[in-house]
Amino acid sequence: MAQDPPEASSRHGEEQDAPRRVAASTGDLSDAVIQTLAEESPDAIVVVDVQGRLAWGNRQAEQLFGYGRAELLGQEVELLLPEGVQKAHLAHRAAYMENPRTRPMGVGLDLKARRRDGTTFPVEISLTPLSTDSGDMVIATVRDISERQTITGEQAALRRVATLVARGVPPEDTFAAVTAEAGRVLDADFTSLARYDPDGRVTLLAAWTGTGDPWPVPVGSRWDLGGGNLSTLVSRTRQPARLDGFGDDIGLWAADVLTLGVHSAVAVPISVEGRLWGLISVFSNHEQPLPAGTEARLAGFTQLVATAIANAQARVELRGFAEEQAALRRVATLVARGTPPEEVFAAVTAEAGRVLGVDFTTLSRYHPDGAMTIVGAWSRSGGPVHFPIGTRLPAGRNLHTQVFRTRQPGRLDTIVGDLGPALAPALAAGVRTGVGVPITVEGQLWGVIISSSTREEPLPSDTEARLAGFTELVATAIANAQARVELRRVAEEQTALRRVATLVAQGVSPEEVFAAVTEEVGRVLGVDYTAMSRYEPDSARKVVAAWARSGSPVVPVGTQELLGGPNVPTAVFETGRPARIDRYGENAGPAAVAAIAAGVRSAVGVPIRVEGQLWGLMNVYSTQEERLPESTEARLAGFTELVATAIANAEARAALTASRARIVATADATRWRIERDLHDSAQQRLVSLALQLRAAQATVAPDAGELAGRLDDVATGLGAALDELREIARGIHPAALAEGGLRPALKALARRSAVPVRLDVRVDERLPEQVELAAYYAVAEALTNTAKHAAASEIDVAVQAGQGGLRIEVRDDGHGGATFAHGSGLVGLKDRVEALGGQFILRSPPGAGTAMAISLPLDDAGRRLR
């Protein structure tokens, strides 16, 4: 039926609302045409006289109301109206006749008309007043708007559902609204909405009954597919299905439905994003089957439901995604801030657990044998986890072992068999399913995160992937922490090396450097014992420094052992390269006896080369099970280089000192010999000359008095020269020193001193020539100096030979204030003493006399390493 837009009739009404006179005849159309027009009009037309009686009706009026024309004529128009409005209509009619116009009737009202059989239907009525010879009449045009209302009603229903969907109402609420709206719109007796589950069962999500009676099956019930019922049909065909009669094979569920008196049913599938998600079913008690258009009309609703579900899923996903991103970001922030790993572990287990919606999450570190130790744990309930931090779980037929072996994520969807006693607490806590994802740090398998649930359903298939985001962050945190530890270790090592280098640069004695290095190395490498040894002739080693983390060193300083056997010092000696022993065998050789006795398990040794020559070795010992790390040899190298430098420096210094000493000594000796020889040969010459002169004198004639006199003068002069010569020589070259040693020489010095000398010489044995010379010259110079500057009345000289060397002390009671200033004579003495490797200490407070303490080394060896 054509539908006039309502605007047209009102427009028409506005334009012409005056009564119209009907012309008896008109020029445009013939009466017959007009008659046909009215008769055949698709709208029902009736004419009502002023008394409200029907004067005429067209065919459509007959059809619409179900009366024959004869039955209509003369009846009150109220016959065509529902009983409830008849009385009111009388009044309206009267009012209209007062002011008749062409207009719609009952604007804004839901007008209803009544059929012969008593049923009502919605109508639109427009009125046109008519003035005829027979009196005033009203033409009423009646239009059946049932279908329009039905369609409008459907649209409204759909719009209401769409609004719910758009508002993002939870799908469950949408289901209930859909079943109700669809049921009303389709005029069904019952509707239901169900979902297909992955396990092949169907879950009832919503149900509506037109009467308001409860649905026989509670919402949430589940039933198996199978049988000739709607849900099975739809699931198989993925097409709408209808049952216009129920056979025997309808399944258990349908039996309940039958109790409602259902005769026919139609079901339409709900597809979400291309997948069969569920179905909407409508049921009717009517004898007649549901109209053919029911499937199509249900489609609008199923689409809205699908949209709602898809939206909800998308929102859930989005929210889940957003939550997950936020959780990952929180963890990443902790990692970036360098939070200690333990805190990161705790945070990860909590965030992952919440995001994944599981009941427990644990984070564990693997041991080499596949066992794992819990380092982080979280429980949804907030209570203690069945495996507290620190628990060690052995390898076995369980999830973490599976992950350990495969290095891939794994899952336990059902617990079969015995997981071993260690995992009993998990079962006791109700764990039924779990997923484990490995944590790999820098390519090495480090540990595992396990999320577990107490629900029967397996964890979603994307759990592994989602956990992976967290495991990556954990791996980063661990790698960062490891890197920080490594950095700290490197920094410590650098600091230790710097400390040792400073000692070396300060020219500290090699023994001190050795001791410092063994200690620094021990601390930096974290070993139990360290030792430094020197290789001696005859294939032996002598320990020059040793350190122990606790207790006494493995091999005490000074120990000498023969090389030989499968031990580290021997290996380094023979190959000249670093060596290590990871386990001592029997008969490891004398150089290993002490180490084995101390419980050493592994040892590493590195050669010390001084100027290209193998000098000794440094070794470290560990009593731990695990062998010393591979990096040990390389790390030791830095220290051994410093040691070699220290030794080379010391040897160079010693060589320098020795050469200076040699220079001084040689100079002294040479000078001594030259002068002695000079004097002695001069003296010899003079004496010989004098003798010759005497001889000549003897031949002179007695009367050559003058000549004899002159000769005598010469002889006297020679004698004087000899005396002078002797005087000079006495101070320069102490003959007594070479022949008698220090005591007689110093005694002679003392005797000749202008200032009385009290001498205390406790040296009876002969000392090395250069030492005696040096001591003699030192005392001579000191005495000279004192006599010249000190204005002393007495000088004390004490000489003593002992362990530390030759010690000479010269004290006077003069006015003090002696310094090393230029020209004081003392600086030369100091230089000489120090060039010989000795020490010169001067104490000369003004007014309190002067004291000099000189020490000269007695042995070559002591000098070399100083």
């Binding site: 003296q683 010989s688 003798l691 005396d723």
Partner: protein, 239 residues
Amino acid sequence: MPGVVIAVDTDDRMREIIVKVTEVPIRVGLADDDVLLREGLASLLERSGFEVVGQSADAPGLVALVRERRPELVIVDIRMPPGHSTEGLDAARQIRSEFPDIAVLVLSAHAEVEHAMDLLAGGQRSGYLLKSRVIDVEDFIETLKRLVRGASVVDPALVAELVSARRVDDPLDVLSPRERQVLGLMAEGRSNSGISTELFVAEGTVEKHVRSILMKLRLPETDDMHRRVLAVLAFLGAR
């Protein structure tokens, strides 16, 4: 064999007279590695009435010479080959042990107390002189004769050094200057008569001084000149 055999315990004086009377030249052996000096010394001695019975350039040669020729006096340089240290002293010791009657004079370029004491410990008729003493011919010859007669001789320069050593709380402070003088001469090996001649005082005065000195220094009184010299030397050396 020329020369006079004289009994060991004869009085010095007697010996002096006998020697003077007999005018037998004293037989001398010389040892010095310096040829020039040795020859010079030899001619000096010859001129002075000594008979040089042999010369050697080293200690073994001297010992052989002494054994063969039995001189009365040996003059030896303290420093000789091979070591050029105290070979002369060692030779002197050896000679003294074999022939205690032979007078030994050791000449040295330097005067060392220890050598003097070492030498004199071997008994009287030991002398220790600086080489330069030979120039003063008269004194030298006189000293030689004294030595042969049984005296002990210590070079005055050495004694002077010993005596003049400065000491705080000097034990020599108790001596008068004259006594110090006498002490020095005692240390040189002079006899009382020698001292009195030297100082131009009466021998009795010298004896008095000597006694005073020995007492003040708490040294043993002795008539044995040699022992006296040793004691004084030791005292001075230890001071």
